[in-house]
Amino acid sequence: MTVPVFLFDLFAALAVASALAMVLNVRNTVAAAMSLVVTMVALAVIYLLLEAHLVAAIQIMVYAGAIVVLFLFVVMLLNLRSDDFAPGRARLARLAGALLGVFTVGEVVRRSGALPAPPALPPGFGGYRAVGIALYTDYVLLVEMASLLLTAAIVGALILAKRKID
């Protein structure tokens, strides 16, 4: 087993374990959020092993560093306690989740034997230059659409948050 494969296995196991810890810790919201951070960091390491350096850095900056901090901020602001979550409400959701999980694991096991060899990567693959050039030439329309969506979301949030608009 080579070092990258070993690291991949290690961090994949960590990602799955911390994701499970998040779901099982649902009563303790802060602990669940911290488990989510561990999942995000483990995923970032996996992206690194896949040569996607920019995505790895952004994964940590945006997901681990910003979004989960906002979750924590809201949780701490509302000071949620464990008895705020009534159990047994989401039986159907649990059933669906369990089925989906079993299906996913089955599919991974079924296909893991016959994976194609990875293609050779062009130089600079996954770096900020390659991703930036791709984003602002081939996918510029999608980038602009996403920015429009985000602007609309910001305006919407402002309108919701302001009592009086003058």
């Binding site: 970032a44 850095a57 940590i60 900056m61 560093g65 901090v69 701490m76 900020y128």
Partner: protein, 383 residues
């Protein structure tokens, strides 16, 4: 390869964490004492020898290690215990990508004095910096104390806001140097530029010969003065030291997020703040002050002058010593500037902190990106 990385990492840990950070606590005490017309720390002694109070960091550590480690009643024990580690780790590992020396060639062996030099070095620093929030937030929440919870809340809002502006404020710098790799940034700053060269690009007339002699080091500070001020402000706010110490706010929150910490766990929060001061100084040196480069004396000049007299190895060895000392000097100056600001400015009000971030620095940094883009287009003729 591995051995080289280990040696470089050990060097950083020994110089920065084990040596410089404790000395900073002493510098801070002495500097504040000088500024407030006091004598400052001078009592700790071994057999009557006080060495200007330099033994105080040692006495502090002995005191903190021998104190009782209290976990408050009702606290989340696990999180309370690991929060100081989560706070201290990012501060230490952020240093991995900051170069403390240049690139040297010994025959066919190339030595680059930086522990890790990834293509996306600056993004690594930002990623690590965004993780640093968790130690504070965990400590604030896990202590089961209203003051620390408020401190954690303030910290999370403040740090997440300033992360955005911190990233945007240095975009201009890496537009100028066209790289995110910190060693390459230092190499790009190891030269000079013509102060009045822009006249030629602006008006299309050749500049008189004698004006070409007025040159400045090609530092980020001179290319991006506004970015320098904004970056210094935002990164100091990220470190939560005065005037941005709202999460601690002694007058309102006792000590904020670490009220319930004692002994060496409190010491870890304390130390991580000082390690971050060194990281900030190193980062600002790298981005804005030319890193290890000696102003007006590029590596080629030094090597070219000494190589004919002695040999290449000696010239490079001299360069390494000179560059490392230059780097340390710049770092110490930036530490001094941070301490100066810390003891000069009073604490902001919380709404002022947020206004400064979102209403002043954010628009200015975006304007800076546009102006820089136009200037680059003008000078280089292409993006």
């Amino acid at each position: 390869m591995i051995v080289e990385v280990v040696i470089k990492s050990l060097f950083i840990l020994l110089v920065v964490v084990a040596a410089l950070a404790p000395v900073i606590t002493w510098i801070e005490r002495k500097q504040s004492a000088v500024m407030q017309d006091r004598i400052g720390a001078n009592r700790a002694d071994i057999g009557g020898i006080t060495v200007l109070g330099l033994l105080h960091p040692m006495a502090d550590v002995i005191k903190l290690l021998s104190k009782e480690d209290v976990v408050p009643f009702g606290a989340n024990r696990v999180m309370h215990l690991i929060a100081p580690l989560v706070a201290a780790t990012p501060a230490v590992i952020a240093y991995a990508v900051i170069p403390y020396g240049g690139v040297y060639h010994f025959g066919d062996y190339t030595l680059s004095l930086v522990a890790a030099n990834p293509d996306w070095g600056l993004l690594y620093i930002f990623a690590i910096g965004s993780i640093a929030t968790y130690g504070t937030v965990m400590a604030g929440w896990a202590s089961n104390n209203n003051w620390s919870l408020l401190g954690g809340l303030r910290a999370s809002a403040q740090m997440i806001s300033y992360e955005v502006t911190m990233g945007l404020s240095v975009v201009g710098v890496f537009m100028v140097f066209q790289t995110l790799q910190l060693q390459n940034m230092c190499l790009a700053q190891d030269t000079t530029f013509r102060v009045f060269g822009f006249l030629q690009h602006l008006f299309g007339v050749p500049v008189p010969q004698w004006l070409d002699w007025i040159r400045l080091p090609a530092w980020g500070l001179f290319y991006q003065p506004l970015a320098f001020i904004m970056f210094l402000t935002t990164i100091m706010a990220e470190n939560k030291r005065p005037p941005f110490d709202l999460p601690e706010g002694e007058s309102e929150l006792i000590a904020g997020y670490f009220v319930e910490y004692s002994g060496m766990r409190f010491g870890l929060f304390f130390m991580s703040e000082f390690i971050e001061v060194v990281v900030i100084a190193g980062l600002i040196t790298t981005l804005f002050l030319g890193g290890w480069s000696v102003p007006y004396l590029s590596t080629q000049t030094i090597v070219g002058a000494i190589k004919p007299v002695f040999n290449e190895g000696f010239a490079n060895g001299l360069c390494i010593i000179l560059h490392f000392l230059t780097f340390m000097l710049k770092v110490v100056v930036m530490i001094w500037v941070q301490m100066l600001l810390r003891w000069t400015l009073p604490r902001f009000r919380y709404d002022q902190v947020m206004d400064l971030c979102w209403k002043i620095i954010l628009p200015l940094s975006i304007a800076n990106i546009f102006v820089t883009g136009f200037a680059i287009l003008l000078v280089r003729g292409q993006p």
